[in-house]
Structure formats: structure tokens, C-alpha cells
Amino acid sequence: MTVATQSTAMPTAGQHGLVAHSDGPVVPVQTRSERFRSVEVADFAPVTGREHEWKLSPVAAFADLTSGELDGARLGLETSGAEGVAVEWIARDDARIGTAGTPEERASANAWTNFGEALLVRVTGEDDKIATVTRTGLGATPRAAHTVIEAAPNSRGLVVLGGTGSARLSENVEVIVGEGANLTVVSVQEWDDDAVHLASHFARIGRDAKLKHIVVSLGGKVVRVNPSTHLAEQGGDVEALGLYFSDAGQHLEQQVYVHHDAPNTRSRVTYKGALQGEGARSVWIGDVLIGNAAVGTDSYEQNRNLVLSDGTRADSIPNLEIETGDIAGAGHASATGRFDDEQLFYLMARGITEEEARRLVVRGFLTEIVQQIGVAELEERLTAALEAELQGA
């Protein structure tokens, strides 16, 4: 087991003795908000794996998605709708596209350059409702996709965006949360073992609006879901939750970014993961930027990993940048612990079988996130899926 933790602001240009970073010749940008961004893939240099946004990812496993031609046709979908949730395809030039964010790396830009139409999931009405959109049967073709989830002002709703079967997919998901809206987005990755899925989510939170964003990654060879949230107007609130179980040979990654950019905004980031088996890998990078305008910010981010066997590696890197002194609170935490033989002995000495002991510990650890989802049927299915993971199924 290897654990890497660092907690530093990026060096500033005026920093004394600043030299090229050991990662390569590139000096990191000053703040997260000044990172280069573009919707054109050609604006990004080819990916080498040394870039700060790629250095912990197995880039050779998905060169087709960062540099190849992507099929931008409509994806195969299974949807279960609800009154007040419309699902339709919209043209590339729709005015909503591009309002929540812009790609910061090449796979995301490649998807943006290549997608044909975008899928729009539009939530209206003040009643609670649940809609599910599952992408399936994508096969071995490298694909690009673009999704816009829009919550109308003062609307409420929960949208599950799922993925099953084989896939080689790079995609962007824009989440536009209108003034006063309360939206939950659950991104559930239950891909087949050979799947590669790279996703960038860009959320823009309107005035006094709330987004609960949950990333659940269980299946797939390489799954990288990077949610960015722009708290662009005052009173915005984001709760970013994540849950992952990485088993042998699996790479599950999430780079979470929260940008406090308006007064009295709040964020809570909580990601929890378990790792089991040779080569099980997880990466969590949590960037929080509290901008100059974001007085009264209340922010906390944390990542917890539970290591269940040898041969795993969990990287956990929280970064916090604060540009104003007038905030309510900002904190971060990272911890990676192991379930070890003494814990196993203790539980077994109370009559509990080894299998049950592991299940008990993992369920206890991850349930906190599962319970936040708010869809009973999905919670039950994920609990069962987690137990199957434990048994190596």
C-alpha cells in the first residue's frame, strides 16, 4: 500500500527560487481557476502522462480517447422518466451548451469537439421526482458524448445517470442549476470489466440553489469522473459525494473541484473508497478555490480510503486555495487506513466469519455515502453490488 498526501497551494510566479517542477518542464499555473481551457481538442498538446491532470492516470490505456477520432453519434439509452423531467436530443449550437464549464484537459476537449448532438435532461416543477438515464451497449468504439442536465428555477428533482456494459467513452456533462432549484445528480458507473470511461462534469449553481452530486464508481477498467462545481452566485450550495470500490487491476479516479466565486456559498465534499486486490488503484484529488468575491464561504472536503489487501495504491490529494480572509470556515481531511489482520482476529474472536467480518467493515465504511443517494431501489442495488465486489464476483 502506498499513500500519497500533499496539501499545498500552487506556487506563485513570484515565489522565491521557483524552478521547473520535477514532474516536467511545466511550472504549474498560479491558481486552479487560471488553468488553460478550451473546447477544441487541437488546442491541447498530445497527452504524455506527465501533465498534472494526467500524471496519476494510466494514459496508455486510453490513447484513443485523448487523441483518436471519436464517434459522436447518439448513445444507446434506457430511460425511466418522471413527470416534470424531459429527455431529448438537442443540437450542438443550443444556447445552453457551454454555459456550465469548459474542458481543462484533452480527453474532455476531444469529446467536446466530436459530439454530434447533446442529450438534454430538463427538470421542471417543484415536486420531488426521480428520472434515470442509463447508457448501455456502447461496445468497443471510442465515443464522445455531451449531456446537459438543467434544473429550472425553483425546481426539484433527482437524476440518475448510469453506465453499464462495455464502453470506451469520453464525455462532458453540464449541470445547470437554476435559481432556487434543488437538484440531485447521481452518476453511477457499473461498466463491464474492460470499459474505459472518462467524464468531466461541470456544474453551475445559481443563486440560493443547491446541488447534491454523487459519483459512484464500481465497474470498469479505468473510470475517471471529474466533477467541477462553480458556485457562481450568492447562497449557492454543493454537496459532492463519492463512493468507489476498486478491485484487482482497476483504476478509479476522481478529481473534484469546487470554485467558491460568490458570497455566502457552501460546499461539502466527501469521497470514500475501498480497495482490494493486486493492482487496485484509486486517485482522489480535491481542489477547493475560495475566490476573492466569496466572502462568508463555508467549505470542507474530505477523502477516506479503506485498504482491504496488499498490492493496492490510493492517492489522496486535497488542495485548498483561499483568496479572501473573510470566510466562515474552510477545512480538509484525508485518511487512508487498512483493514488488518488484528482487526480480522478481533471480529473472528467474537464468532464472526472472515467473510462476514470484511462485509461488516466495508459496509460500515461506505454506507454513509450510499444512504445519501435517496433512491431506495438504487441504494439496495448498490449495497448488493458492493457485497458482490467484496466476494470478488
Binding site: 479503506l306 487506513g337 483493514f339 489482520d341 488484528e342 482487526q343 482476529f345 478481533y346 471480529l347 473472528m348 474472536a349 467474537r350 464468532g351 464472526i352 466469519t353 472472515e354 462476514e356 461488516l360 467493515v361 466495508v362 459496509r363 460500515g364 465504511f365 461506505l366 454506507t367
Partner: protein, 256 residues
């Protein structure tokens, strides 16, 4: 009538310096309802005996037997031993992240009994047992041993003892690190368990202090991996006065 028999037990442990012999022929018979105190200096092998009975994988039995009502305990896995009726109250209980005391107790009770306890009775039993041990009810929702003080950890061990109702309990230095109030509470718990279930007890301790609260029927002095002397409660009184000095010659050959 249950009986736990230990016959000519020899135990090795693997260390970085190679194999070390720690137990060198231990014989002991504990009947249900009996309290046996095992006393001895540090490094005499007392804890090794405790962990060997429970089945910790670090210890290798090279000779001898442990029988519970005639059944070969050494062939059982750790959890099978617990289900057969053995309990080890640990000297250093480990933290279990993500598992609440409530969840842990119910899971263990279900495993030991082979069926889930009836919800109504169980909740009441847990509450009563916690009350007896002066444990705050907020305890139940904390993760097992996480952030517990030394005294809280020991109380949590005795809570399990009272709720799981084993046939035999090994208490491994349960008294160490307890102030006198906590020592009384823990001792009362052990006595209550014996009263209620006819528990047989192997009480391992370095000090005579706990024997004021838990009265042993037999006292065994453990030196250099075997029993050097045994007798009734009066032997403990003598140890209190004289210490382990007169066994010191043997101790030079001791291990652990």
C-alpha cells in the same frame, strides 16, 4: 458440566530472530463456574496462553492439546472457537473503523447463537448491560474502540462477555491501566457474568489488585512458559507480600 482442558501445551512464535519457544508444557483444567487466576512476571508467557486458546495465527502449537468438552479446539478456526463457547477479553482491543458498537454486537450475537436475537429483547439486554457497566448510551453509535479511552475499551470487552454468554472466558490483563473505579465496574461485570451463566474464567494478571474484586478458586504462578506453582487464594496473598522474586531463577530462561 463444561470443562476446558489444556494438556502439555508447547507453543512457538516466529520472530525476526527466528523461532522462539514460549510455552513449555502447560497443564490446566478449568471446570465451569471456576475462576483460575494465572499470575506471573512480564514475559512469562501468560498472554501467549490467552492468544493460543483464542487461535491467534501468530502462535504455533508444536505439542499438546486444548479440549473443550472433549472437542479438539486446536482444529477449530478463530470464529469456530468463539462459537464453541470461548471468549478472549483482550488486553489491547483493536479499533474497527466503520463498524458501530451496536452493529458489531448484533452481528457477533447472531454469529454465536446461529440466529438473530429478537429485536425487542436484544435492545433491552444491550441497554441494561451498558447501564450496569456505566457506559453512556452514546457509546452504542460509536465505532468499535475508535477513540475509546483505556477504561472504555475494557468495559466494552466485558459488555461483550456479558452479552455473548460464552462457556469460558480468558481475561488477558483486563485490570491493566484501570483506575480503581473502573476496576470495580469491570470486576462486577465479570462476577455478574459468572453468576448468570456459570462461566468458567481464566484470569490473567500481573497484579493481585483485581483479586480483591474477583475471587479466584485457584491461583497458578506462571514462570518461563509453564506453571511453577499452584494453590488456592492464599497463594495470591503470598505473591502480594513476596512478589515474584523467588521464581526469578527460572525467569532467566523465559521468553516472549
Amino acid at each position: 458440566m463444561s470443562v476446558l482442558e489444556i494438556k502439555n501445551l508447547h507453543v512457538n512464535v516466529e520472530t525476526d530472530q527466528g523461532t522462539r519457544e514460549i510455552l513449555r508444557g502447560v497443564d490446566l483444567v478449568i471446570n465451569e463456574g471456576e475462576i483460575h487466576a494465572i499470575m506471573g512476571p512480564n514475559g512469562s508467557g501468560k498472554s501467549t496462553l490467552a492468544y493460543t486458546i483464542a487461535g491467534h495465527p501468530k502462535y504455533t502449537v508444536v505439542e499438546g492439546e486444548i479440549l473443550l468438552d472433549g472437542e479438539n479446539v486446536l482444529e477449530m478456526s478463530v470464529d469456530e472457537r468463539a462459537r464453541a463457547g470461548l471468549f478472549l477479553a483482550m488486553q489491547y482491543p483493536v479499533e474497527i473503523p466503520g463498524v458501530t458498537v451496536t452493529n458489531f454486537l448484533r452481528t457477533a450475537k447472531t454469529a454465536i447463537d446461529g440466529e438473530a436475537p429478537s429485536v425487542r429483547h436484544w435492545v433491552k439486554d444491550v441497554r441494561t448491560a451498558m447501564g450496569n457497566l456505566k457506559m453512556d448510551s452514546a457509546f452504542a453509535e460509536r465505532n468499535v474502540n475508535e477513540g475509546f479511552s483505556g477504561g472504555e475499551k475494557k468495559r466494552n470487552e466485558i459488555l461483550q462477555l456479558e452479552l455473548l454468554k460464552p462457556k469460558f472466558a480468558v481475561l488477558d490483563e483486563t485490570d491493566s491501566g484501570l483506575d480503581v473505579d473502573a476496576l470495580k465496574i469491570v470486576s462486577e461485570g465479570v462476577n455478574r457474568a459468572k453468576e448468570n451463566t456459570g462461566l468458567g474464567i481464566l484470569l490473567i494478571t500481573h497484579y493481585t489488585r483485581i483479586l480483591r474484586y474477583i475471587k479466584p478458586d485457584f491461583v497458578h504462578v506462571f514462570v518461563a512458559g509453564k506453571i511453577a506453582e499452584q494453590g488456592g487464594p492464599e497463594l495470591a496473598d503470598r505473591l502480594e507480600d513476596e512478589g515474584y522474586d523467588r521464581y526469578q531463577v527460572a525467569e532467566t530462561a523465559s521468553a516472549e
